[in-house]
Amino acid sequence: MTEVVWQPSCELEQLQQRAKMLTLIRRFFSERDVLEVETPLLSQATGTEPQLDFFSSEYHRHPESQTLFLQTSPEFAMKRLLAAGSGSIYQICKAFRNGESGRFHNPEFTILEWYRVDFNLQKLMNEVAELLSAVLSISSVKKISYSELFFQKTGLNALEYSPKTYQAYALSQNIPDAVTLCEDNHDLWLDFIFSHKIQATLSENSIYLVYGYPASQASLARINIDNPAIADRFEVFVNGIELANGFFELANATEQASRFEQEINFRRENKRPSVVKDSRFLAALNAGLPDCSGVAIGLDSLLMLLTASSTIDDVIAFPVNRA
């Protein structure tokens, strides 16, 4: 008989560090009058983003049964609160992404997500840097635009796809498999090069704020008002680890519905599980989302950085293989 592993995979010290980190975060927001909220983990709709795979469950509401999704992020529900006039809010909750498992990923993980009413992207980026500096005791903050960073590290223009130069770069950098894998998909090229060649170089114990993502990777961010080639979206990297993703939030319900539509089509064409548009979220946008910026931080990754851990299993008591 095989031995049953019941013990946690992390040390007690990591649990203490997590508790300390959560206390610090709650104090940070309480000092700034940002309201802590809770939203459902189980919901009748979920995000359409084709790169995110969800868990679903059956709710027995006799005599019928209804599919409920475990949330891949609390975004939609939190925006409904914003539309209802909550003012700035934050939440610390679990999020679930099917199939994501690895050194930096567990399918169930902890998210810190917050929204600041009347903050533009710059202002929110500053606040993110403040919080991370406080948690990680890192004072060096570097802000750089996505395209500038891309050019610095690779010599490539991230905003304009040129098959020849991209392919030549891949061959010269010993990643020839990029050519066959990415074909002529510009976004795939950007994801491939960024994750294989750029991310790891964002080290030196600095908080890197990378902003101005290509418009094709806008997700739920607004397109920049002065430059339609980029979106008002940023990401944060510390010592090669991706920590956070933030937007100047898209508030236009029509544009949001059409982005949903595109993603639903993409899911259909690529035979991914189908989802429906979250009608309650769209109705909230229709009613009016205040101008706001929002960001989500992976707290398990943050704890990995804080404790210099090399795998996520070292900072979670019971990762999926022990859950």
């Binding site: 199939g99 690895g102 050194r103 994801d191 491939f192 994750s195």
Partner: protein, 189 residues
Amino acid sequence: MARYSTNEFKAGLKIMIDADPCAIIENEFIKPGKGQAFSRVKIRNLKTGRVIERTFKSGESVDGADVVELDMQYLYSDGQFWHFMVPDTFEQYQADENAVIDSMKWLKDQDICTMTLWNDAPLSITPPNFVELTVTDTDPGLKGDTSGGGGKPATLETGAVVRVPLFVQIGELLKIDTRSGEYVSRAKE
């Protein structure tokens, strides 16, 4: 042969890459926040021994490689092929020079080796971790020197040349670690 999706990738899995059988050494899941997820794997080509890195889109599938490892007894070499036998079934396999290139200098009749087979054809041979081989040639050591310091080269019955202590004489049986290629001790006959 079965196909494997990237979420089944793990160290030790044998898959086909560029028409060659390979073994996964390491698999890393990479997921840009809002982008495509990848599996970055380090793989060893089982034919050439070379280690390469390869990236797959998450969810992509590849063919498994029909690779098995069997314990076999080494019988003899006829100069062109090296002959092995499965002790239980007496089934015989002949390996060509490519398959034994790294191990031939440690192969001694009767020893049990591990043969890696791909589609039932020998791919490589791993000798036992320790073998006992007779010294066929070495310089005579200085009389009375038993310190073991320094050392000298000695040729063994299989043709392998290893560094041995000065006191070792022609005709002696030595224990050798095949992984490092180093002398361990004198062996009892």
